[in-house]
Symmetry: C2
Subunit: 185 residues, 2 copies
């Protein structure tokens, strides 16, 4: 079974012809480690699904420090959602931490599929809900957890990420200094 079909069918069911139709709206791309999917200031009309690889989404603050908003591994969706939905320029960067294989869909094609198939609207709605819940939990963790607790929560929830990215990036994602994290682990 196509990996995207397996992924979609975790939420809804598709007939063979329906999945073929859906898949026709996706384009495969490969990116090498260090290449960018998205850079600050761009207009974004693509959403990406990770077939293989690991990426990060981050912002640069005024002093040039990176703050990591999100990692993305196999089966995750990633883009700058604010830029994608509201048609404003991106305020983030997304780059590849490993060689990556991705499938992307344009905003107009996603819109078209959502209109054509109630169940695809439902699928994406469900993915957005889970993204929203994860983001709310992240806010909570940033507000109330110590550096140690944040690291432990992340290790429990995303063991794969911990194994695949550097300690420096984990510190940036958790909003703690590299030194603090080193003292703990």
């Amino acid at each position: 079974m196509h990996p995207l079909r397996r992924h979609i069918e975790e939420v809804i069911s598709l007939e063979d012809a329906e999945f073929d139709h859906v898949l026709n709206h996706f384009t495969p791309i490969k990116k090498r480690k260090h290449q960018y999917l998205i850079q600050e200031g761009e207009l974004i009309n693509k959403e990406y699904w990770v077939v293989k690889g690991c990426l990060r989404a981050y912002v640069l603050d005024e002093s040039g420090r990176e703050h990591i908003i999100q990692f993305a591994l196999e089966d995750w969706w990633v883009t700058d959602y604010q830029a994608f939905e509201k048609e404003v320029t991106s305020q983030i960067y997304i780059d590849c931490l490993e060689d990556c294989e991705l499938l992307y869909i344009t905003k107009s094609d996603r819109e078209k599929l959502s209109q054509e198939f109630h169940k695809m609207e439902r699928f994406w709605a469900k993915k957005t809900k889970f993204g929203y819940i994860a983001s709310q939990n992240r806010v909570l963790s940033l507000l109330k957890n110590t550096a140690k607790e944040r690291y432990e929560l992340m290790s429990a929830q995303y063991p794969n990420i911990i194994q695949r990215v550097s300690k420096k990036m984990i510190a940036s994602y958790l909003g703690v200094s590299r030194e603090t994290l080193s003292r703990l682990y």
Copy 2:
């Protein structure tokens, strides 16, 4: 026009009979200032829409300190989305900061309406998207902005909230100390 209809029709269009059918799935309630909608440890099967009033969602950490996740004013939707979607017990409290009038819908009725009307699925999907984007921006602000910048962003984005809640609560929402905020404003 009913305020809920005006709100829904910002995203989709409804016939009179459709709106009447939708509205039949909502129940009005009134709560007085200081009353709770949701308490930690409860199972949550209702989502609330604010007709009038102001609420806050918060967690208590182990030392008993409050951390405010979200405020909600007129036209906002509020619940513990993790508990609501995943059918786990709530980890948050939601209480009324003013006397409130609300409409609630149960999870099964929301599900039913989303199944019956593709456009209601679409409406809620859009609301979730905007919630997700706001939450991602909050993560970003917590990671990269100083106390002063956070307050200024909040003042620009939510002037109504600034006017209606205490400085102490704003400090809790921004993840800064009351003293830091007082020194700035």
